[in-house]
Symmetry: C2
């Protein structure tokens, strides 16, 4: 079959269909999360199911396979090679597991997610346990299909999210974290507590919106190519580099929540808006990986957005917007409050220092589930022990413990580490950036655009046409190195807390 | 081929795909008109083009045709028969014209629409004339493919929008209009002018929004199955009966514009929300026809929404919302102002009485274009003459004359009459309704829900599973009869203007 002469051009109609379905699915999903009326979902879901199936078969079909296998690498441009690489990954994913087993699993995961919701609401892990048990079984079975001689199952799962970042590297990363960050957290907890009570006064929501739009604009979010809306949980989505959308959730009694999520989602959005036209609407038109995406959002949110230099040109405007609440709060007090550390139960609300400890708990449990066959009914206990050991707190119930995240119920085992890797990428990039750009000075002068231009040059523009490791190496001159992250956290919080 | 035994069930996968693409296209279109950022459209259009093509081929393909032709009518349920009837119409449409000619025409229409926009902006018909000429040529050619022995080309075009409402019937309709409404308009113009100046004060937009949401809710718009947003031009769309969306455009210096368009679009929306679950997401899940849809929107807007009885329970709330502007305006003055008649140039802004005269001008010109080969460069002059003759005014330029509507540039010749038919359907339905329901009393008591229930019972629930003529006959006991419309207009405006 593949003797037939084929050209990359032959793939285009399939790739374009895939793009069109991807666009449709993303818009419907955006709409569902921002605007769709209460009773709409059940009906719209029928359309979504069909569109998802169409998207799948637009790429995974015998004709595409024939073309793909007939293509000669040497005849391809760089971009075509990158697209082909992604396409091959899609095939690997789809061919790794027998279709009927994948269908069974998809149904299981949908049910498990519903049960998880109920179990979380009722703080009752035992409802969910049998489903999680089956999820784990399936994931192990699936991983087994792709496992290489001598390889580990968990590495196969990790590969599904962040390719080539395996247990060996992650173990080193997390053991350093454990060594350095846990003692640091203990010291922070003995230092004087930071007062952030002014964040929790009443803040008019319309005024918050105005300020957040101003903030996004200041960051460089291009409103001619983007939209900001509201949703229950903040997120970023895009269908191409000319339509990138973020959401925020406003709380009447919390100022910092919306601000930090605007900066975080804004970081994701700058990445998407910065991808080159030649890549957008292709298989390499998104970010390079979850971790690389997260590195950008966390860089803006934490490295820039919680710094005094970032707020120097902006804080007067915020004070003008809320004179009663912030008139007496100095820039220094404001920024210190943004950096308050407090070990708490919920990952998504965690501060910059404890965040990676939350991830470490999940990483260790995932390894135990997959590699050590720990029975699921032992997991809540293990979870709570680890929280006590790493964060010094024990969840009061499973809702604020092991039931807090949706990921496992959907089968996403191996995903969590990419959040921590994102933080580490950000710190490594920042380390190099500081040598080449006067970051702090630029921020103080309101010239954040020059920082974004730097990231655009080295990261954003490439979309997924380059691999994360490749970009990291090209930018920083060395392989992935999590030491910068640990060093960054230590320096920053020793200073914030004057340790 | 069609000897193979087939069942309606075999069509389902194709119908469902079609539904999914329809959903996607409608959501993207809604998004484009309400929210999408400025520079998004060119890129999103690529996806839209592919989705439209997919929607087309999901129904128009050899397998569907084979099933369609193999089905035995007698083995089908009523609903299946209705769906099959619609499907056959789609085939007639697609098979009437050779595919390459249709492609050429689609490209021409896209260019013509762009040129029309420019020509309108520059008030320069001659830019647009060569395109319109070609559009007319194509439409005549296409109509020729379907014309029956002894039939007329224009009837073929009319059939494309409102099946079986042909020139013979429309001529009778419009000649009665001409006979009765033009003299009535002259009398109205000699009567004392109605003061509606209070509509054009400053009205806070946020307060207008609040009131319009209240108004939609009062009408029975179900917000659990619908959304109200803003757009440049108000419109209604839906992807199923559980997600129906309307838009309004708010003006700071015009109160009645948003109110009347909320009631108008609300009428469309009540129709869509009232369609039965068994029909939604099928080929008979929309309204029965353009005219039937327009009959509902115009019934709510004009028959109900411009009546004193409708406003009696609502006006105090509106006065409370705008005490400064309306505190001294009585209910009677307010409603009289909603019924002010003034011959003017723009169809979409026309009052209830002159609206049909605007349509008549277009109808007569369309007949001349298609049947009498009037050269396009004569059209502006004819247009202006007719406006002078029927409305007593001559457009100052082609922007407010023949260039005002987009329809012809997109090839929609034969569409306009359905607007007038909608008005006539509404009046005929109203005539019967009044015998069966105490409409005015219900309105005064705020019981509009009972009126909607009546329309739901006789019209809305059926979607497109019944033909307009069939529903009209079943409800009113007689064939389509435009006399009720003329009678309604005469009675109403003789009273409003005390003639």
């Amino acid at each position: 079959m593949s003797n037939k002469k084929v050209a990359f051009q032959d793939l285009i109609p399939y790739l374009e269909k895939n793009m069109a379905f991807h666009t449709a699915i993303n818009i419907i999903d955006w709409d569902a999360n921002t605007l769709a009326p209460e009773e709409s979902s059940e009906y719209t879901a029928k359309a979504m199911g069909i569109l998802s199936q169409e998207q799948f078969t637009s790429l995974i079909n015998p004709k595409v396979k024939e073309i793909m296998e007939g293509l000669k690498e040497e005849a391809l441009s760089q971009t075509e090679k990158a697209i082909l690489r992604r396409l091959k990954k899609e095939y690997q994913k789809s061919e790794a597991v027998p279709a009927n087993e994948m269908r069974e699993f998809t149904e299981l995961a949908a049910r498990a997610t519903n049960v998880w919701q109920k179990a979380k609401k009722e703080q009752n892990f035992s409802l969910y346990a049998p489903y999680l048990e089956k999820i784990v079984e399936y994931k192990k079975k699936f991983a087994g299909y792709s496992k290489k001689e001598g390889g580990s199952l968990y590495n196969v799962l990790l590969d599904g999210y962040e390719e080539s970042f395996h247990v060996e590297e992650l173990d080193r990363f997390f053991s350093k974290l454990k060594e350095e960050i846990i003692p640091l957290l203990k010291k922070v907890e003995q230092a004087e507590e930071i007062d952030d009570s002014f964040f929790y006064q009443e803040y008019d929501i319309e005024k918050q919106k105005e300020f957040n739009v101003f903030l996004a604009e200041y960051m460089g979010f291009n409103f001619k190519r983007g939209v900001i809306a509201e949703s229950e949980h903040p997120f970023t989505t895009s269908w191409h580099n000319h339509d990138v959308r973020i959401t925020t959730h406003y709380y009447k009694d919390n100022l910092s929540s919306a601000i930090l999520s605007t900066i975080h989602e804004g970081g994701h959005a700058l990445y998407e808006q910065g991808i080159r036209d030649e890549f957008t609407q292709t298989l390499v038109g998104d970010g390079a990986s979850c971790a690389m995406h997260e590195s950008q959002s966390r860089f803006y949110e934490n490295v820039l957005g919680r710094s005094e230099a970032f707020w120097e040109p902006l804080y007067p405007k915020l004070q003008d917007t809320f004179p009663k609440q912030l008139g007496q709060v100095s820039l220094g007090q404001f920024v210190r409050a943004l950096n308050k550390i407090k070990a708490d139960f919920i990952r998504t609300e965690a501060d910059e220092l404890t965040y990676c400890l939350h991830i470490m708990v999940r990483y260790e449990l995932e390894k135990q589930m997959i590699e050590e066959d720990v029975p699921v009914d032992k997991l809540p206990g293990l979870w709570n022990q680890k929280y006590q050991e790493y964060l010094g707190i024990t969840p009061n119930n499973d809702k604020e413990g092991i039931l807090q995240d949706v990921h496992w119920s959907m089968g996403d085992i191996g995903y969590f580490p990419s959040y921590a890797l994102g933080n580490a990428f950000a710190a490594q990039i920042y380390h190099t950036m500081k040598k080449e750009l006067p970051v702090e000075e630029l921020l103080r002068k309101g010239k954040i655009a020059e920082i974004t231009a730097y990231l655009r040059e080295h990261i954003h523009q490439y979309g997924a046409s380059k691999e994360p490791r490749e970009m990291l190496k090209a930018l920083t001159g060395e392989e992935f190195n999590p030491d910068y992250y640990i060093q960054y956290l230590k320096e920053k919080f020793e200073q914030v807390y004057q340790l």
